[in-house]
Symmetry: C2
Subunit: 202 residues, 2 copies
C-alpha cells in the first residue's frame, strides 16, 4: 500500500486501483462527498487520468458497480431465455448486483445518498430505471415501457432498502434462491402483465 | 398561532395540536431530531402531557401517521372483502397512507430517517412489517407469514422511495388508481402465492 502515494503508470493495474478506491469511497463515504479528485488523490494519480478512463464521476460510479449499462447487452442477457422467463432472468440480474458484497455496498451507498442528496437521486433514476430496466421493458414489447421499468425499479429499491439497509427479518436473511423465486413473478407482472393503465377519470 | 406559546387546556383540541406539530416536525425535521420535548415546546404544553396522551415518541409517531396499528382492525379492514381481493384491499390501504399529503410527509420522513438513522430503522420494521402487514399475512393463513409480510413491506418501501423520494417518472405522476391495479397482484402474490420457499442447500 506504500506505493499508493506515488504516481502510478497508466494501464489496467491503475484502472483497477481507481475502481477499488471508488468502491471504497462511494460505499463508505457516500456518493456526494466522493469526487474524482478525492479518489484520484487516494490512488496517487492525476484526476485527469481518472477523467480520461471513466469520462465522469457517473461513469466511474457505473464502472465501480459493474452495472451492465449497455442497453443492448442488458436486453440480450435477460432475453436470451424464452420470453416467459424474462422475470426470472431480470430477478437474477438484480440479485447478482445486490448479492455481491462490494457491488451491493456501492448500490446501497448510492441509495442512501439518493434519499438525502439531490445529486445522487437522478443517478438511481438514470442507471436503474432508464439504462438497465427500460431496455428490458422495451424488448418485452408491451405498452408503457417507462412505467413498467419504473415499477420494476421500485421493487429493486424496496428489496435493497428492506433487506440490506433497514434489515427487515426474515427477508434480510432469506436465501438468494428464495428471493429470485419470490421476485420473478413480480417482475413478470410489471413487465408483461395486462393490468390496465387506462386514463380513466380519477 | 399566537396562542401556541401559551399553556393549553387538555382535551381534544390540544391532542390535535400536538399531532399537527408532530406531523410537521417528523416530516420537516426528521424522526431522529424530533422529540416529545421539542414537539411539546412548540405547542406550548408540558412534555408530560404528550407522554400521557401518546405513551412514547413511537406512539406519537403512529398517531401522527394515523396508521391502523390495531392488528385486528387491520386484518378486519383488509379481509372484509372476499379472500381473492386481499391484494387490492391491502394495496388500497397502503395507497391511502401514501396518497394523503400529511401522512405521506410523515412516512417519507421516517423512511429518510430509517435509511440514515439507526433509531428510526426499527420503527419501519415494527410498524409496517410487524404491526400492519403481519396480521394480514397471518389472517390470509399461508406459510411463512413473516417473510410474506416483509416482502409486501419491501414493495411499499420501494414504491414510496421511487415515487415520492427519488421521483422516478412516470411512476411519480401515475394515478392512484393505476398504482392500485399495478400493486394489487404483487401483494396477492407475496401474501398468497405458492412460490416455494424451501430450505434447499444454497
Amino acid at each position: 500500500m506504500a506505493r499508493t502515494r506515488g504516481r502510478r503508470p497508466g494501464g489496467l493495474d491503475t484502472r483497477s486501483a481507481i475502481i477499488a478506491e471508488a468502491r471504497r469511497q462511494f460505499g463508505e463515504v457516500g456518493y456526494g462527498p466522493s469526487t474524482l479528485r478525492t479518489i484520484a488523490a487516494a490512488v496517487g494519480v492525476d484526476p485527469r487520468l481518472v477523467l480520461h478512463y471513466f469520462g465522469s464521476k457517473k461513469g466511474l460510479f457505473e464502472a465501480s458497480v459493474e452495472l451492465p449499462v449497455d442497453p443492448e447487452v442488458v436486453a440480450a442477457t435477460v432475453l436470451r431465455a424464452a420470453d416467459g422467463d424474462v422475470g426470472t432472468r431480470t430477478a437474477e440480474l438484480i440479485l447478482s448486483i445486490l448479492e455481491d458484497p462490494s457491488r451491493r455496498l456501492v448500490f446501497t451507498g448510492l441509495l442512501r445518498a439518493a434519499v438525502s442528496d439531490p445529486e445522487a437521486a437522478p443517478l438511481i433514476r438514470d442507471i436503474l430505471a432508464t439504462r438497465i430496466l427500460l431496455p428490458i421493458a422495451q424488448a418485452v414489447g408491451t405498452d408503457q415501457p417507462e412505467l413498467r421499468a419504473a415499477l420494476v425499479a421500485s421493487s429493486v429499491v424496496g428489496l435493497a432498502v428492506a433487506r440490506h439497509i433497514v434489515g427487515i427479518e426474515p427477508l434480510a436473511s432469506a436465501s438468494r434462491e428464495d428471493l429470485v423465486r419470490a421476485l420473478a413473478p413480480v417482475v413478470t407482472h410489471y413487465l408483461r402483465g395486462d393490468w390496465p393503465t387506462s386514463e380513466e377519470p380519477a
